[in-house]
């Protein structure tokens, strides 16, 4: 058996699973010190299910520790950003577009050295090893132990980043190094930003991994644990210490993965209705479609694989005002169960309307009897319309797709949503996120530019597929279970040589769990 935990803004959810069966689940408020809520949720689900801790073979955790640290500018390391690209890129040094307070928090240590490649793999300039060594010595003299290395077009050729890392590790034995090509995509500022954010979370990552390890030990769980990544796959503790940034936005991803698992649908739209906002995302072959544009994290532009999620201000606690009718974005949030009319409060919320309209029977229905039925009808129509517009926005074609509804706010939607072929409200919809965390799959991804004139399209695609598969196996997937779940080709505009950027993602089952 295994436990999946997902930390949300309001609740921390845990689900206990045996193979494909949900044995039990528990919801508890998210605590300011996140680990406490995680252990409470896990302890409770074990107790309530009367399952001994010894039967747990793996624990999967989707956490917000690292996002919170960046947002709050706390527990971040002094970090050196080393970019290989001179003479190119000189006019815009690392962190040039960061919020100044965050840049200052991690020290604004930046170094530009020679190196980097052209789009077609030629060198911009050779790597100057002595220059890198000098930089390493300077970093060491400042007592900095976190380094992010970026090189121009490292997604095309990563050798310079790797060699620079060797030199720096040679000079500073206890350094932790983040390489941009392992994290982000084409677009050097955004990729480098993601690597720097990752690097400055290094100490925190070690501390979190230690605290989880200790918590599991205290609970007498003798099993490996994994962290959820934002692409819907897992990473082991060792990997998590090196790539904490890959946990960002794992919450919406876990909900969508859980929705796919619970409903059995692989290609579908998912609406996760929360208390204050709702997220819509598209599942493609069981995984969230990834955002193709820059995503800001606390003011820093990044371009690593975040889920493509559209959030809108509708949830179970959204406030209703009449004349003119307006729903949200203000919400009573987690206070719904004290402030909503049906719970004896004095604030009109979407949940009250759902009760008044007969969609659901919770709380005290007599508290909403006085509401005008025309008004209730109009408001429910408006809520339906908000969901329909959001769903349509995220579709990729006019073809109707299945829609899966998860999250506590699922009660707000009762009618078939336009543009969908069917509407699925699976069992355990309120803890789809924790169930999503418990799905044990690992993956690998490649994303780089190929010159089709030399290679030909078929050969380029075959290479990319193989690279992604190899990475999945290296991450712990059982080889025979690895499948390609996403292939994307983007021609580069204004370029006559037929260069194409190819991105392939492969996923397989965690080898450790065997067939269970």
């Amino acid at each position: 058996m295994r436990i999946g935990v997902d930390v949300g803004g309001t609740n921390t959810d845990a689900a206990l699973m045996d193979g494909e069966r949900v044995v039990g689940w528990h919801k508890t408020p998210t605590t300011p010190e996140v680990t406490a809520g995680i252990t409470t949720a896990m302890r409770t689900v074990l107790e309530e299910s009367k399952v001994p801790a010894q039967q747990i073979r793996a624990v999967m955790i989707g956490t917000t520790h690292f996002t919170n640290a960046v947002v709050e500018r706390k527990r971040l390391m002094q970090t050196a950003a080393v970019r290989l690209g001179l003479p190119a890129t000189e006019c815009l040094p690392p962190m040039v577009d960061w919020p100044p307070d965050l840049r200052d928090t991690i020290g604004n240590h930046k170094y530009l050295v020679h190196g980097g490649h052209e789009f077609d793999g030629r060198e911009i300039s050779p790597l100057d090893e002595d220059e890198v060594r000098e930089v390493a010595k300077d970093i060491k003299s400042k007592g900095i132990r976190a380094v992010a290395i970026s090189a121009v077009f490292s997604p095309v050729n990563s050798s310079f980043e790797e060699r620079a890392a060797e030199i720096i590790q040679d000079e500073i034995p206890d350094v932790s190094v983040s390489l941009s090509h392992e994290i982000g995509r084409i677009g050097i500022l955004e990729r480098e930003n993601a690597a720097i954010v990752n690097a400055c979370l290094g100490d925190l990552a070690s501390a979190i991994v230690d605290s989880f390890r200790k918590a599991l030990k205290d609970m007498k769980i003798d099993a490996p644990f994994y962290l959820s990544q934002n692409d819907g796959t897992l990473m082991g503790a060792d990997f998590a210490e090196k790539y904490p940034v890959l946990t960002f936005a794992s919450g919406p991803t876990n909900s969508m993965r859980g929705a796919a698992f619970l409903s059995g649908a692989q290609d579908a739209m998912v609406v996760d209705l929360g208390g204050t906002t709702s997220d819509v995302g598209m599942l493609l072959r069981g995984f969230p479609r990834e955002a193709s544009v820059a995503v800001e994290i606390s003011g820093v532009r990044t371009n690593f694989r975040m889920p493509d999620v559209y959030s809108f201000g509708l949830g179970g606690g959204s406030l209703i005002s009449d004349d003119p009718l307006k729903i949200g974005p203000e919400s009573v949030g987690y206070e719904l169960t004290t402030k909503g009319l049906v719970f004896g409060g004095s604030v009109l919320t979407t949940t009250d309307l759902a009760v008044a309209g007969g969609l659901v029977d919770i709380g005290d229905a007599s508290a909403v009897k006085h509401l005008d039925s025309t008004f209730v009808g109009q408001a429910l129509d408006e809520m339906q319309s908000m969901v329909e517009v959001a769903v349509d926005r995220m579709k990729t074609s006019a073809e109707p797709v299945p829609l899966i509804l998860v999250g506590g706010g699922t009660i707000l939607v009762s009618r078939q949503v336009k543009g969908t072929s069917e509407m699925i409200k699976p069992d355990h919809f309120s803890v789809a996120n924790a169930i999503g965390a418990a799905i044990a799959q690992v993956g690998g991804e490649t994303d780089r530019v190929f010159a089709l004139e030399e290679l030909g399209r078929d050969e380029a695609l075959a290479q990319a597929r193989q690279e992604a598969t190899d990475k999945a196996v290296a991450a712990g997937a059982r080889e025979e279970t690895v499948t390609i779940v996403d292939v994307e080709e983007v021609p580069l505009a204004y370029l006559p040589s037929n260069a194409v950027r190819i991105r392939v993602k492969a996923v397989g089952d965690l080898a450790l769990l065997g067939d269970g």
Binding site: A88, L92, E118, I124, G187, S397, P491, L492
Partner: protein, 360 residues
Amino acid sequence: MRLLHPKNVEDIALGAAVLGTGGGGDPYIGKLMGISAIQEFGPVTLLSLDEIDDDALIVPTAMMGAPTVMLEKLPKGDEIIKAFYALESYLGQKITATMSAEAGGLNSVTPLTVAARLRIPMVDCDGMGRAFPELQMVTATMYGISSTPFAIGDEKGNSAILNTINNRWTETFSRSITVDMGCAAMIACYATTGKELKEWAVPDTMTLVEDIGRTIREARQAKADVVETVRESVGGFEVFKGKIVDVRRRTEKGFAKGEAVMEGVDEYASQTLELDFQNENLAAKVDGEIVVSVPDLITVLDTETGEPITTETLRYGFRVTVLGIPCNEKWRTPEGLELVGPRYFGYDIDWVPVEERYGN
């Protein structure tokens, strides 16, 4: 005369995307470069056309290459300086000012870096009043201004000077050199006297894009209807409001071509608009008939946020408003239409001014 500070650059970059008509490259990198150059070297002086002496020498500057590459291989910053000096010594004359060749997209802000570093003014005008895909597509070509001597430079310090028999040849050669330079290069061309510039330039376009950018920013702050305020600030017409239902793409000769199909809403319900693009938006057809085409501007905005949508980001499900914006009068001449009219882009139709269909 006025000074451009970082705040002005933010607005210029935002507004330039509207005149980019779906292309012209993302101004983000150019904006950052302009801002950091101004922070280091001081604000840039912007002169209006009538403040330019007739015997002044003005050289437009721009980035050439693939926008995707520019997001990765950022410039060194002084590529163009060397090319500029090379041009000066070739011409045997000091360059008085620089300007934008293309007010739409990335190249609205590129010359700011040059102006700040060389401490020369920038002229409030450009050569298109929008974005176009090829180098010869500037009003200067119609006035017999040669793009050569044409200077091109890369971050390594290489530079080249071209002399060609016409501006289309410059386009051909410079495109090849740009690829060898790693698909991102800085160029300086169309050296022109103040007297000539007053004839061929599209005037006041820096101020125009800045006004558009400021309008968008203020409308967002005031939570006003951004699309409508943009339409007013550019003197454009609402052509369509709807939802994108299909996008088809292909690459031909290095150009990203395709069509986006939109279904109408509100008063456009039951109508269908098909938008043709080749890096930039070329033509809009409603129910099969072309209603707006080059050289008039076709700009697609997110109906809700007013954000200009580039051809690369067009996607199913977007709620969009299509604006038709009258192009500069210089494009409306037989010579202008020969250079950038619908027939040049393969449409066998006569150009109809957008205001003839949508005025009133």
